[in-house]
């Protein structure tokens, strides 16, 4: 599941993705994807707890980057269902930094 999410993000053409960190960050739209920690996700039906991972996608855009963000969000929706959210936004060095967090199974 995570590998498919990563592959889909890396295939985007309007933004360059790397896993974990960039050694030298591109000047244009760029992002990172990483798994942050293992977590328990509640299964609402029988209180059974599934082991999942919580990860994050960081998107840095020149300007607002709404179109790029929409593409990223569509991929998160496709691979994580409703288990993702926009955790924070921040302007950093003339770029807009969006941080998405998601939960996913790692197969």
């Amino acid at each position: 599941m995570y590998e498919q999410l990563k592959t889909a993000l890396m295939a985007l053409t309007d933004i360059e993705f790397a896993e974990h960190e960039w050694t030298t960050r591109p000047a244009g739209n760029h992002g990172t994807i990483q798994l942050d920690f293992q977590t328990n996700s509640d299964n609402g039906d029988d209180h059974h707890q599934d082991q999942a991972w919580e990860g994050s996608v960081d998107v840095y855009t020149v300007g607002r980057g709404n179109a790029v963000a929409a593409e990223v969000e569509a991929i998160l929706e496709e691979h994580c269902g409703s288990a993702w959210e926009l955790n924070s936004t921040q302007i950093e060095q003339r770029m807009l930094h969006r941080e998405y967090v998601f939960q996913i199974e790692v197969i």
Binding site: E21, W22, T23, T24, R25, Q34, D36, F37, T39, N40, E54, S56, D58, Y60, N87, S88, Q90, E92, Q93, M95, H97, E99, V101
Partner: protein, 162 residues
């Protein structure tokens, strides 16, 4: 003539239910506070786990993102906790668990504590992300819920035993 039904011995139940009704707010507040304390403790531990490093990496690593500086970690130490509860008498009871409001002096400038915590938690264009607060929040959720239930149960039992 229709038959009537008389019940006796319900005075104790009436008293208990009446008292529970009056005490519902304080019970919920106490339970919430105890649960928030669990999360606050997890946040305090999270600060201790922040990895630190130098401002600039040497040689070929010089363009790589840095970790939090020791002084940034020190600035967050003791700045986590629980804010005061709202007490407007309304039906909602709110509190905030997390990092303190206000500023710390860093590199000769005032820096908002929340901004510093956010930079470490989410990373920046020049700093590695260390989602220690997000992890602490997730990890302590179940324990906090269990403590809240335990506190509420204990307080309700006290009223029932009076």
């Amino acid at each position: 003539m229709p038959g009537g039904m008389e019940t006796t011995g319900t005075e104790e139940l009436d008293r208990m239910l009446g008292e529970l009704g009056q005490m519902a707010g304080p019970i919920a507040a106490r339970a919430l506070y105890d649960g928030a304390a669990v999360v606050a403790n997890a946040y305090a531990s999270a600060v201790k786990s922040i990895r630190t490093g130098p401002r600039n990496w040497p040689g070929a690593m010089r363009n790589q993102a840095r970790y939090a500086l020791p002084e940034e970690k020190a600035a967050l130490t003791g700045k986590t906790g629980i804010s005061k509860f709202n007490s407007d008498g309304g039906p909602e009871i709110n509190t905030i668990v997390g990092v303190a409001e206000g500023y710390v002096e860093l590199h000769g400038k005032p820096v908002a504590v929340k901004l510093l915590a956010r930079s470490i938690n989410s990373g920046t264009s020049f700093m590695h992300k260390q989602p220690v607060f997000r992890k602490a929040q997730r990890a302590s959720k179940s324990a906090a819920q269990a403590v809240m239930v335990k506190t509420a149960d204990a307080l309700i039992e006290q009223i029932a035993k009076k």
